[in-house]
Amino acid sequence: MSNQPSSAPFRREREDAFLLEPSASEMDLYHFGAQELATKAEDKRVHLRELLDISPFLNEAASAIVDDSFTRCFKSNPPEPWNWNIYLFPLWCLGVLVRYLILFPIRVVLLAVGWIVFLALFIPIHSILRGHDQLRQMLERGLVEFICSVFVASWTGVVKYHGPRPSRRPKQVFVANHTSMIDFIILEQMTAFAVIMQKHPGWVGLLQTTILESLGCIWFNRTEAKDREIVAKKIKQHIEDPEKNPLLIFPEGTCVNNQYTVMFKKGAFELGCTVCPIAIKYNKIFVDAFWNSKKQSFTMHLAQLMTSWAVVCDVWYMEPQTLQPNETPIEFAERVRDMIAKRAGIKKVAWDGYLKYYRPSPKLTEKRQQKFAEWVLPRLRKEDS
């Protein structure tokens, strides 16, 4: 890599080493070791010292313990406190009172009224208009958009939409970076998307299976391999049908803290249809919109948003992209990720977001081992001859 002398302390260029150039899906973790080994290559014998010198491996391990790019993607970053002096502190306290005692109750009432109106219309429409699919779908679409605007209003969402509003047509999917389930709500209030989502427990799961099902949303369980096959089949059917709502996929497969973006799953990019990127960037001025699902239930997450002053965010609908000749789906996914990362001003890391749930594949370790074996082997043959 760079010509940094091998005696320099092991520093992985904190911000950049894992923010790879476009071909990132093949993770090149191993620059350092390779370079270290290359400097030893002149003398073709196995020196005991060189064989015993495991310091590059230890440096890597220690460096990962001290700080790592993967964990950083999922770290909540609360907004900077501004009540840092005695003059502002009373003001801040007043703000707390306003937020919790005035804003929050008003928002709860708003949300409740919204739900009552929604359900009062949705249930009859859903059951009475069974025969008239087209009319029913149109009305249901409108209602879901309505309840989503109620949600956005309940945290005083200040959302700026840039670019043309998505339209319904076959053979296209929308992909967006993912920070929280509220991404979906924010996008849904403008256009009724059908979304591919993880199956959730509790009241969210109930909404998924009842109301959102009518939009053509598809649910699956991340950890079930069988589910993924079924989903792939459902997606294929969905995109062929011009009557269905546009399909929305969060290819990261998990919520990231809106400062980084993890690897895009290639699924959405090998359907052979147009991919319309959507970039979402939250402003952290009042609240961190990242949903850390391991620490917080969705209800708590919503409560947090509803007790903040406002959720400020930008949404960019970007130029539709198609698979170019000589481009693999993985490269395509990477190109789209590039666009989104650039637009939203977030950093890319090469990790697969599913590593939150799984251990990394042994293949990555094997790559490192192979490099080492390739260093050892030439030295060994010398002696044989």
Binding site: F10, L52, L58, A61, P360
Partner: protein
């Protein structure tokens, strides 16, 4: 969570600093403490093997299992003391001793031909055959003038790196 660092008082930090022979600055210790709390998810006071392995960059390391043996269940003070070997200020013998301990799995103060072979196995995985590995270790021992049944001591390790020195440094990020 916000201000975890405020839980460390000046006394705590000095105490930890003493425990690691002043190899880390106070700011580095605060930073390490934040990291420790982040990895120790449910705040039980130590980081479990499973939590270490949840860091993918650590988990893919061929020596991760060996390092885990030293890291597993350490409290914060011992955690810092263990990592202090990676400080730029740590002495040369300190660093060599750390490597020695990685090899000396049974902790008897001797590194045998077999110990070296086992580490080599971790490092090369399926890419060297058993015979190749044995041959490599044989040649390395021979080249340094040791017989196969010689047991390397810490002193031998120190001599090996005596002329070349050893680069074992990791920067602790401070903000």
């Amino acid at each position: 969570m916000g201000s975890t660092s405020s839980m460390l008082t000046q006394y705590d930090i000095e105490d930890v600093q003493e425990h690691c022979n002043q190899l880390f600055t106070q700011r580095e210790i605060v930073s390490l403490y934040e990291r420790f709390c982040q990895l120790d998810r449910n705040g039980k006071g130590f980081i479990s093997a499973d939590e270490f392995m949840s860091v993918p960059e650590f988990a893919v390391n061929p020596l991760s299992q060996r390092m885990l043996r030293m890291l597993d269940g350490l409290n914060f003070k011992d955690f810092v003391a263990l990592l202090s070997v990676f400080s730029a200020k740590a002495s040369f013998p300190h660093k060599v001793e750390f490597i020695f301990k990685i090899y000396d799995a049974d902790g008897d103060g001797k590194v045998t031909w077999n110990d070296v072979l086992e580490v080599l196995q971790d490092l090369s995985g399926p890419f060297l055959s058993v015979e190749q590995r044995q041959e490599v270790v044989n040649q390395a021992f021979k080249e340094s003038g040791y017989s196969i049944d010689y047991m390397l001591t810490l002193q031998d390790f120190l001599q090996l790196w005596d002329k070349t020195g050893l680069t074992m440094e990791v920067e602790v990020p401070v903000d």
